[in-house]
Symmetry: C2
Subunit: 409 residues, 2 copies
């Protein structure tokens, strides 16, 4: 299997001013084309850094992609740095320049002299057209068959140029991957449960990725020829811990919940206290959620809980706002107001203050209601304020997911 | 000036599944501490890649920071790969393990055997406590005085551990930086306005960073000895475009708005349609927001707009939900319900569908109300669904910020 390296150039990246937007997109593209990404390197706009990045990459990689530094200005040095590294000249391409000039006239009206730099092509390289911007990419085959591809820095230009050569980068030994996403189980516990299954086949690469708020992603990767082994492992995983699996591939928990509601033709509304809109906002992130999501009440304040959700004063006095009883009445309130099939209510102490002995910071009651049946659980999320809030929202979504799955079976 | 290198490990990064969250934050931290970032390298969870990344970095850098791969699972190999590279043993730290075990028990209840891996310390390294998660960082001084710092992968854990050693990484030749944050003005317009001021001093490095949703950040950096030049420029900038500046340093717009409300002793409630909780959720992100934020109505559905906010049926029929008239009634409704000083209402078409000729996707009405006075504006955000929603929420916050500033003056 061949290795690729991605080099992104730009001082604003290494100085922590902007996030490198290109490498993630390029990496997933190359993976799907059958490449293994050996490394991603970000360097500033200076000859030495680019030279060293090329040195590091040439050792192990058959494909090297460099993004950025193809513009007309003084700090656009990728062309010259690359030419220098491979001991090649830069040659001005008259015909190419005419095209570039025409394009720049359209965009900007005037054409500054430095635009000529964009038509300087590395000796032996092929210029790759850029449909979005003016600077073309360059594809260079170096003596030992390695490919060096120069792409513009702006993401949309980078994608445009890459798409022109994509088909030529397709490997025969492409990889096969299955991705499983879990919620409601700890990474270490999950790995323990699955150890005998997933580590039984050395030819299958196993990778866990755990996010406290968004759950666990498990990736099983093999060569295309071993795909049936991966599929058989996935089947065993479903048999053992399928209840915790909410999706495959890159689907999010909120997308899954909205889909389940759509399929079942059910509607949802929410009542939020400590999450303060995060739950609703997450659901509405999903395009088309308007078909199933009716709305919500953010009763951040006790008076709002009473006035809007008809939570009883006596309940708040007796049990407090962070209690099963309060969440129970919040559920009934939001059900009544929105006249929906499913309701979610959340009340908790996100912190930093507001905790006490029997209800420390991080204590959250999450309730889900359907057809008169209520399921209310107490959680203790030992994290900082906003992690508690987002974790509460996702835990509520997962609780609803499990309830729908049971209900609709 | 000494060079630093950041190595982020994780197959999910080089495989294009997640974006490296850590390097941008670390880079800007190190810059402010006086380091120059030589390069950022992302590699997968395998010994060879980590070894080669260390080789590439040891050549030129006095500080090498490695994030990720300190967890308990099989693919957490940063400890062993680093130890191997520097020809050191991994030593199990019994005392440290007791602490880790205690923490994991708290978090997870059960402690699996593999958690012991987190207490394996590189020979000669110092364990650095992790207040957020269980895996400690490790600081290793190698023979030639270079520092190698191992940090956990999850951003909040990485930040927690880094903060413990930050002061020890401070360089003598540290830089002086002022950061100004703007909202409600285009980057190109702002740069034009400021050109004569900011580009008048070559010793001051100027960097714009524009984020469509969160606004513009302007950084002015100089050597510590030139700080007064930077301060004088900042003063001039305030005089010219101060009205668009909402904060300095890393303060967010929502923090500023909550602060302003606290200082003025005012309360706020919101009515959201297309943003669907994002505005409320953003406000409640701020600790202590409960003192000023009473709650909100997510009237995603027209029936909810009528039933909860008393928007008239005739208004919806005549002008539609995305109209100045509807937002006007939403403001009155939420004011009445929560009995607050300030109200915000948002109604728009986030897309992907729902647009038409005179109200295309991205059309959003944003209203702010105080003491009977309403300020309602129509916007057209030409972006995809969720960018439109978050942009709407931040634009609403900035509208409120300007109104308070005027009102309380």
């Amino acid at each position: 299997m061949s290795d690729a390296c991605i080099i992104t150039t730009g001082s604003e990246i290494v100085e922590g001013i902007i996030t490198d937007q290109n490498s993630k997109w390029l990496a997933s593209k190359l993976i799907s084309l059958g490449w293994r990404i050996h490394k991603i390197i970000s360097v500033g706009d200076d000859h030495n850094s680019i030279r060293e990045a090329l040195e590091c990459s040439m050792k192990n990689c058959d494909l090297i992609i460099i993004t950025g530094g193809l513009g007309p200005t003084k700090d656009d040095i990728t062309r010259s740095a690359t030419a220098k590294f491979f001991k090649r000249k830069l040659i001005f391409d008259e015909k190419l320049y005419e095209k570039i000039e025409k394009k720049v006239k359209e965009f900007a009206g005037t054409v500054v002299k430095t635009v000529r730099n964009e038509a300087m092509i590395i000796e032996g390289a092929e210029a790759i057209g850029n449909d979005v911007g003016s600077a073309p990419g360059q594809l260079l085959k170096v003596d030992d068959g390695k490919i060096v591809l120069l792409l513009p820095g702006p993401p949309n230009e980078m994608m445009s140029v890459f798409s022109k050569v994509e088909s030529r980068l397709l490997r025969r030994d492409r990889r096969f991957t299955r991705i499983l996403k879990f919620y409601g189980i700890k990474e270490s516990v999950l790995e323990d449960e699955l150890r005998d299954i997933i580590y039984s086949h050395p030819e299958v690469k196993v990778a866990f990725q755990a996010d406290y708020v968004k759950g666990i992603t498990l990736r099983l990767t093999s060569s295309e020829s071993e795909k049936e082994v991966v599929n058989s492992l996935v089947k065993k995983i479903y048999d053992k811990v399928g209840v915790h699996i909410y999706a495959e591939e890159s689907k999010s928990l909120e997308e899954v919940v909205v889909e389940l509601l759509k399929e079942a033709g059910r509607t949802l509304a929410v009542a939020e206290s400590c999450t303060g809109g995060v739950l609703a906002g997450t659901i509405v992130n999903v395009p088309g959620s308007s078909k199933v999501f009716k709305g919500g009440i953010i009763a951040y304040d006790n008076s709002a809980k009473m006035k809007l959700l008809c939570v009883r004063k006596s309940t708040l006095e007796r049990y407090g706002a962070v209690s099963e009883e309060c969440v129970k009445e919040m559920l009934e309130g939001v059900m009544r107001i929105f006249d929906v099939d499913y309701a979610i209510a959340i009340s908790g102490i996100a912190g930093p203050s507001g905790g006490n002995e029997d209800k420390p910071v991080g204590t959250v009651y999450i309730g889900v209601m359907c057809k008169g049946i209520k399921e209310i659980k107490r959680f203790h999320f030992k994290r900082e304020r906003n992690t508690v809030r987002y974790k509460s929202a996702y835990t509520a979504l997962d609780t609803l997911r499990r309830l729908i799955r049971r209900g609709e079976q």
